[in-house]
Symmetry: C2
Subunit: 448 residues, 2 copies
């Protein structure tokens, strides 16, 4: 508790109205509650539905307006079991996690020789005869970066390896985890069946296990694995977005859209991805709710089903894309400190950039040129012509944890989490009281 | 490669006899080979037998004398499956690992309410009525310490909780992992059935899962778990010690006994526990083999079955306890740097202490007063009247990894590993060429 919060608590003994907890505590309580009382929240499952109900209850209790759920249907997927074992010449178990949309092995699993490639390009260049009937393994490396650029660079390995392998006749595909840690927890994440590739088992090895398999292959003898994956699509199920508002004083002024995503992968409790994002933006929205009424309505969305392909963000844009939005932004890179912001306006000298710089500088946040990404969930709204803004977080630690069983509450650095809530609050204060023209700079969105 | 090693490599172009790799590379190659080609090596299993065969081949190839296996029979145990899931009120899976000698749940598992205790003393004090029919959970905390003292303090929680719980009628017992990390990998380790306690399922929760369950209990509603553990004893099986020697020039001078343990828990590949110990001592012994012949024979033992209760060390003492040993020491606390040494002689002013201090000071190692522990595998030899010596390693990181799936090769800090090989080599040079009287100081061994 901060010193000021303590003073307010003391004051609350005689003045109960002052007892409202500070917004960072509101945010953290959301994160702790969601990750403890719900835990993993895989898209379009009963757990995600329970999370929506929890969200509505919490957001109503916090006093937000217009709290409701908007549902949509989508194809859903189930992990089942996933095991891998070296049969010869060095018998031992390996840790894997099936990737989203992975197919399954034949019942009882598949036993085959491994063929390894240092990169997806090397796999692409390999003749069918080198791959057919084998288990493909791609062991590319991923660097630690502050700006998440290494993730961008390596996602295609996760996304496309199994399709390329399947088209060349492989019986299963393994990739080194798209991750930067050294723990026996594999990084899941979505992959797709490209150009009509036949689904096969597609899984990530934990980083130590990928290193182990790479070392075995380097010894020069054929390495045989047994892999069993029972992952499969489960048909069409319901997901949904949870919406809450801080009403603005001018209904015609348009909406400032903020949020994070409520769904998580099923392995961890979704603390950094993306319980943190919904918690940070909820804390900031609550600060705005407690303060003077803003000009613009703040619409807070806890998006559903981001992980399997941004279904919630697309459903939101389909339902609300014609409403007047003046800016959209999402928190979806953990809870480590915000170090820069991006907002590319048609008028690059617009005074609001200076206003934002002044408001954010005390938190150590500087302006960065270039178009904003916005976030998977607000990109479809951005595509309707609404400007996107980024409060860019430090991603140095993020890909140690991202999409693993290790994504749990203890990974949150409370001081950095609090800085995020403060940053979003400062941003909202400027934007929701501004008359600035927020026409976006021309040009394509950076992430297509 | 060190600068000197590079120079030697260069020299080897014209003088092949100088091409022998430096001892730290010999040691690391043992560690890499053992953890890659064998992997996990649970006591008295086929994997431990494969590891013995691998060891004999490697130790012979390195040129050691008298390389052989000495077998013994022992009771052995199998992990089977181990799962835990919160059924109500916050449904989600938890990560557990059965403890050594754990019993099993009834087929299909057991569903019961959790009763939590902050310490083993609180469990001990609880009435039977509070425990009967329930799943006991003890969530004590373990601190990070350089000298491993926190492990000593917390081991009883792992060792005895299930016995106390079983005697009060609990249906299963869970403990917070005896570990200092924050990853979803639980720490196994041995426990026992004390005073005839009936075996039940006994398991450790990973630290994040233990924190999660503690948070759930703090919310005040009854928490129901489903636990399934199929761990069981598998009868009597064979284990063994692998022995190799550096012959001394004086057969009557007695033996200097060194080594580590070859077995590991089954979850990781046993890199820090204790591939590192056998690798470090083998590297140092190889340095002695390459140098001038020592006065004393150095006997290097890769002990079997340390983890379930030091069976290899007891078998060694039973077979060899009557031979003349002048000193015994073991490396079994990972591969981080040696920071002190302990050697308690009857004559505390014996000049060999000064000799050792001089030899070890350049490596940052100082003399520490007090009796040495020696290591689980050499304690039984110490009990025959042989002095024990410790080259004390930094344990700060050790219990992040110890007894988990995360105990893999990537956890080795190569610079610190090399310092260990150098420390053991320096120690052996002094001890195996000394005429000192190594009569131990009187008093009980510190660990009984």
């Amino acid at each position: 508790m901060t010193k000021i919060a303590l003073l307010l608590s003391a004051a609350a003994l005689s003045f109960p109205a002052l007892a409202a907890p500070p917004p960072e505590d509101v945010g953290y309580a959301v994160l702790e509650g969601l990750t403890t009382e719900i835990g993993p929240r895989l898209a379009a499952t009963e757990a995600e539905a329970r999370a929506r109900d929890w969200a509505v209850k919490r957001l109503k209790a916090l006093g937000f307006a217009n709290v409701h759920i908007e549902t949509y249907d989508m194809p859903s997927w189930e992990r089942g079991i996933g095991t891998a074992e070296v049969i010869a010449p060095y018998p031992q178990k390996l840790v894997i996690a099936a990737l989203g949309n992975s197919g399954s092995t034949p019942p009882g699993g598949v036993t085959a020789e491994v063929v390894g490639f240092p990169s997806i390009e090397a796999l692409q260049a390999a003749p069918e005869s080198a791959v057919k009937g084998k288990i493909v393994f791609v062991w590319h490396r991923m660097a630690v970066t502050q700006d998440a650029s290494s993730y961008e660079a390596n996602v295609p390995v996760r996304y496309a390896t199994a399709s390329i392998a399947s088209k060349k006749g492989a019986v299963a595909a393994l990739v080194r985890s798209i991750g930067t840690d050294h723990h026996r927890v594999a990084h899941t994440g979505v992959q797709a069946w490209i150009d009509g590739a036949t689904p096969i088992a597609a899984a990530a090895l934990s980083v130590p296990d990928a290193d182990q398999l790479e070392r075995m292959l380097a010894l020069g003898k054929p390495v045989t694995l047994h892999v069993e994956v029972t992952a499969h699509m489960t048909g069409t199920h319901q997901s949904g977005n949870v919406i809450a508002e801080v009403p603005g004083r001018d209904p015609k002024a348009g909406i400032v859209l903020i949020g994070g995503h409520l769904d998580s992968w099923d392995l961890g409790t979704g603390a950094i991805d993306d319980g943190a994002g919904v918690a940070i933006t909820t804390g900031a929205a609550k600060a705005m709710l407690e303060g003077p009424r803003p000009k613009h309505t703040i619409r807070l969305v806890w998006f559903g089903a981001e992980e399997p392909g941004g279904f919630g963000g697309k459903a939101y844009a389909a339902a609300h894309g014609k409403e007047k939005h003046i800016l959209a932004a999402e928190s979806d890179l953990g809870a480590d400190r915000v170090w820069s912001f991006r907002l590319a306006l048609a008028d690059p000298k617009a005074p609001i950039i200076t206003d934002l710089s002044r408001a954010l500088a005390p938190l150590g946040i500087g302006f960065a040129a270039g178009p904003a990404f916005g976030g998977t969930d607000v990109e479809p709204t951005g595509a309707t012509g609404v400007v996107l803004m980024d409060l860019v977080q430090d991603a140095t630690r993020y890909f140690d944890i991202h999409h693993t069983a290790d994504d749990t509450l203890d990974k949150i650095d409370r001081a950095q989490f609090d800085q995020n809530v403060a940053a979003w609050t400062a941003m909202l204060k400027v934007v929701t009281n501004s008359d600035a023209d927020l026409t976006p700079a021309p040009g394509p969105a950076p992430h297509e």
